[in-house]
């Protein structure tokens, strides 16, 4: 049984790559997020676990800026995200946030390198430089750059998604069940890669996962339950 213990956010949050205070979200009469406090510093990782329907995906959507919280504050770096327009939030996401999904969510009509280059092109970076960086990332992850992503294996697709998340050098990487669709061996490899990012790039990493083994790699672990977030007291 998971024990929930609520603690106020520490003062170090003011300098964190991601910090939220009292974030609330309601859909109709249903409260989905109920005063969530969270901060993740650069070079650190955090994992959120929780049952289905506990509000994890909604919290991630709020942190990505896809939806605006009903109340509270979400800061990415120095920027207060919750007050920005939809377009400004998209800009902020493109420049400062990398995202990895469970099913990779690649555009199958594009090649691996084109998928990786997309965030750079969307933030108006020079095409040649973007291509060079994408090549470097894919070489590092041992993915054939010009192959259609439709023919890649699950592990390869997930690594392409990670390369895509890193192309703009984000200060914050958000991952939603990044290993959920992989087998045990690939899960370990992908998790190794993902959790090495804070140390290698200095970014903050927030992972939402069901998998305790994956969550145990994070520096800080939280549990989400009925819209509330609390540090987890369970060991790996």
């Amino acid at each position: 049984m998971t024990q929930i213990e609520t603690t106020p956010p520490s003062d170090t949050c003011s300098a964190a790559a991601l910090s939220c205070r009292q974030v609330r979200y309601r859909a109709g009469r249903t409260t989905i997020l109920d005063g969530v406090d969270l901060c993740v510093a650069g070079g650190r990782s955090a994992a959120i676990q929780g049952r289905s329907g506990s509000g994890k995906s909604t919290l991630l959507a709020v942190l990505m800026g896809l939806i605006r919280p009903t109340g509270g504050s979400v800061r990415v770096g120095e920027t207060e995200m919750s007050t920005l327009s939809r377009s400004r939030r998209a800009d902020l996401r493109g420049q400062h946030i990398g995202v990895v999904f469970q099913n990779a969510e690649l555009l199958d009509e594009l090649t691996a390198i084109e998928n990786v280059m997309l965030p750079a092109l969307l933030t108006h970076q020079e095409k040649a430089a973007a291509r060079t960086r994408a090549h470097g990332l894919l070489d590092e992850l041992e993915i054939p750059a010009d192959r259609s992503t439709a023919v890649l294996s699950g592990g390869e697709r997930q690594r392409v998604a990670m390369a895509r998340a890193l192309i703009n050098g984000p200060g914050l990487v958000l991952a939603d069940e990044p290993t959920g669709a992989l087998d045990a061996e690939l899960r370990e490899t992908s998790a190794d890669l993902l959790f090495s990012l804070p140390a290698s790039t200095g970014c903050a990493l927030l992972v939402v996962t069901h998998d305790p083994a994956v969550a145990s790699r994070a520096d800080e672990r939280y549990v989400m339950d009925t819209g509330r977030l609390a540090p987890s007291t369970l060991d790996g």
């Binding site: 909604t58 959507a61 896809l66 377009s87 493109g94 099913n103 969510e105 555009l107 965030p119 969307l122």
Partner: protein, 712 residues
């Protein structure tokens, strides 16, 4: 289905729909210019009448000739100055005793030659209102002159335009065509474009979600979609522009309508047409951008529920169809306008309710199939039933689209049947007299008595000739109608059973000759020209008791005696000519109806294509895991069967009452019923095609399905 394949299909659909949108809007512009062009060509050949006979360069007289299924204009010409310009379309005046016909009458030159003189050439299409116009220019041979029929003219190109094309409806009610074009062309074309833009919605939503997550602004997504749609849109505009350009170079026929779009009318409309092209592009871009706009992210909020499709709406629809149909039937014998209003009102309400009716039928059928599948342990029935019950929207939309198409086409066909019925009744009225009686309008000038005597003498001896005159005396506040007088030789009257009797023989077309219910007075003597201020009508009736009358030969006799020839008609001709106009009008409605229905069917097909691809993918895991790919086939077939049955019940039955209205209107509703059956069959064929597509997609999806993630 791969994103590339979806994208290609969408591009082709958008290109085709854009071309249709542009052409539909162009049709709106062309209505005016083609009518103006027709008026102008009509004016160009209209004689400039003068009362000063000294300055006249020719004389003319104009009449119609109506035969079974055909009505054409005859213009008699008598050139007083052969150096004067001939009518447009002729290089010189025809010689006396000859005629020139429009190309459309080339197959009737023998018949026309007997009546109007030897046919020596054809009228160039530049002198015709449209290339298919039926027109005869005849220059009669020297004969007795009937001055009452001639008018003098100084040339062609009168400012006051006279319609000589015999297309009265087209000229007088041009504005009605706007509604036809808007209803049958513009609206379906826009719907088709919107449907084409909605193709691959699911794929597009996923693409937008990914890109937005990666930092794409909504405006960027709009630009992305605009760029994706730009090439198909431009292709469609180019195709439409090509058609319009072709139309400005060559005359284009509108098959079945007996109408040609003249290249000169296109050229005259060029500035307006290109403005319309530009406007259509803007409209098309707006439609595409609205259809592909980025959706708002709704977080964890539940997605939109399926419509409820309440059963009471279905019951209400049935009641409306029955009540309005019954009211229309009650009124069709009296006021046709009131009957039409009831049919129109009922049809509109039925159209509005049809989607709900189809939804209710689909969901109810799904529940029934699911229950049967559950009891019998049939997985395909269980799954198909559950899908139809819980998510009927896709199937209901398909059924509603087909049912509405069946309903609309049935309406058009019912209107057509009533129009053709009038023509058929006119024909059947005229036909019994064909061969037995002809009527010749006789001028009221005593000077023409020798001509009348000559004609009677020239006619075959076995023919009876009588003269019928009707008289009406008008007073300031009333009029007195005198009995009609029939004059003929005693032997002839006796043979006709008229001697000493003031009763009209029942086999005579008396109503058409002398007016309905007019009493009769017989008078012995030869046919005589009647005169007098109170003379209402003066007609010569030629009777062949053997029923062997040759109308052309009698007209030939008239033409050789009198200039211009008095025209021969049979009782019912005027009605027949009027009915032909109705048929002409119906052809236009058919033309618009066919195009509009085709576009509607294309909308249905595209929606089906999209829905069946989605259904195939959703059904793939079950079939793949169970290893029973036949499940996909059976599920798709059951879904198709439910949709086809829904179309038959909703579309077929809703349309069926129209056939009762047609029956009540005096026409035969049988063909309407047959048409409804054929339409339902066609809809079933279309649905079978969609089902086959779903089966194909389903098998592909089963083969490519992998656990743990959906692949496109």
């Amino acid at each position: 289905m791969t994103p590339a394949r979806i994208g290609l299909t969408q591009a082709v659909a958008i290109a085709a729909a854009t071309a249709l949108v542009v052409l539909s809007f162009a049709a709106l512009v062309l209505i005016d210019t083609t009518y103006d062009g027709r008026y102008q060509r009509s004016a160009d050949r209209t004689p400039i009448v003068t009362v000063d006979h000294e300055i006249a360069s020719f004389r003319f007289a104009h009449s119609f000739s109506a035969g079974p299924g055909r009505k054409f204009s005859v213009v008699y010409l008598d050139p007083l100055d052969r150096a004067a310009p001939p009518p447009p379309g002729l290089t010189q005046w025809p010689q006396p005793g000859t005629a020139v016909v429009s190309p459309s009458l080339a197959d009737r030159v023998d018949e026309i030659g007997v009546v109007y003189g030897e046919v020596v050439g054809t009228v160039d299409t530049s002198g015709l209102v449209q290339p298919t116009e039926d027109l005869v220019y005849a220059v009669p041979a020297p004969a007795m002159f009937d001055g009452s029929n001639w008018e003098h003219a100084v040339g062609f190109g009168a400012a006051n335009r006279v319609n000589m094309a015999g297309e009265i409806w087209i000229v007088e009610y041009a504005e009605r065509v706007y509604y036809l074009v808007l209803f049958f062309l513009v609206a379906p074309a826009m719907a088709l474009l919107a449907t084409a833009a909605h193709l691959g919605d699911e794929e597009r939503r996923r693409r937008h979600a990914i890109l937005e997550t990666l930092g794409a602004r909504p405006g960027r997504l709009v630009r992305l979609e605009a760029r994706r749609a730009a090439l198909p849109l431009l292709t469609g505009v180019a195709v439409a522009s090509g058609v319009l350009t072709a139309g400005s170079l060559v005359d284009l026929p509108l098959l079945g309508a007996g109408y040609w779009l003249r290249s000169e009318d296109f050229r005259a409309a060029a500035p307006a047409l290109w403005s319309v092209v530009a406007g259509s592009i803007v409209a098309a871009i707006c439609v595409v951008l609205v259809a592909t706009r980025p959706a708002r992210v709704r977080g964890a909020r539940p997605r939109g529920r399926e419509p409820r499709y309440p059963g009471w709406v279905a019951a209400l629809a049935a009641v409306i169809v029955l009540l309005t149909g019954r009211e229309a039937i009650n009124r069709v014998g009296g006021s046709l306008d009131e009957a039409a209003l009831w049919v129109f009102g009922g049809s509109m309400l039925s159209l509005i309710l049809l989607p709900t009716v189809c939804g209710w039928l689909t969901r109810t059928s799904g529940a029934l199939i699911g229950e049967l599948g559950s009891r019998g342990g049939h997985p395909a029935m269980l799954v198909a039933g559950a899908q139809l019950r819980s998510a009927p929207r896709g199937s209901a939309r398909l059924a509603a689209g087909c049912a509405m198409a069946v309903f609309l086409v049935s309406q058009i066909f019912a209107m057509l049947t009533l129009s053709y019925a009038e023509n058929a009744v006119a024909e059947s009225t005229a036909k019994p007299h064909d061969g037995s009686y002809v009527v010749i309008g006789v001028p009221r000038e005593r000077s023409m008595q020798p001509a009348l005597d000559q004609i009677v003498a020239d006619l075959a001896e076995n023919l009876h000739v009588v003269h019928v005159a009707t008289r009406v005396r008008e007073f300031p506040n009333s009029e007195i109608e005198f009995p009609a007088t029939i004059t003929g030789s005693v032997a002839m009257l006796e043979e006709l059973g008229l001697s000493g009797l003031n009763e009209v023989p029942t086999e005579w077309p008396w109503d058409e000759v002398a007016g309905s219910g007019n009493p009769l007075v017989t008078s012995a003597g030869p046919p005589t020209i009647a005169v007098g201020d109170d003379l209402s009508s003066s007609q010569m009736v030629v009777i062949d008791p053997a029923g062997q009358l040759d109308r052309s030969q009698i007209q030939h006799v008239l033409n050789t005696v009198v200039r211009p020839g008095w025209s021969v008609s049979i009782p019912g001709d005027a009605w027949r000519a009027g009915a032909l106009n109705a048929v002409h009008q119906s052809r236009w409605i058919v033309w618009f109806g066919v195009i509009g229905s085709s576009m509607l069917m294309a909308v249905v097909f595209l929606r089906t294509w999209q829905a069946s691809s989605l259904a195939a993918r959703r059904g793939a895991p079950l079939a793949a895991v169970s290893g029973r790919t036949g499940l996909t086939v059976r599920r798709a077939v059951m879904r198709g069967a439910v949709v086809a049955a829904t179309v038959a019940v909703a579309g077929g039955l809703a349309s069926y009452h129209l056939s009762w209205v047609v029956d009540a209107g005096g026409a035969d509703g049988g063909p309407v019923r047959q048409t409804i059956a054929v339409l339902c069959l066609l809809a079933t064929v279309a649905i079978s095609g969609a089902t086959a597509h779903e089966v194909y997609e389903g098998r592909r999806a089963v083969r490519s399905w992998r656990p743990g993630g959906e692949r496109s």
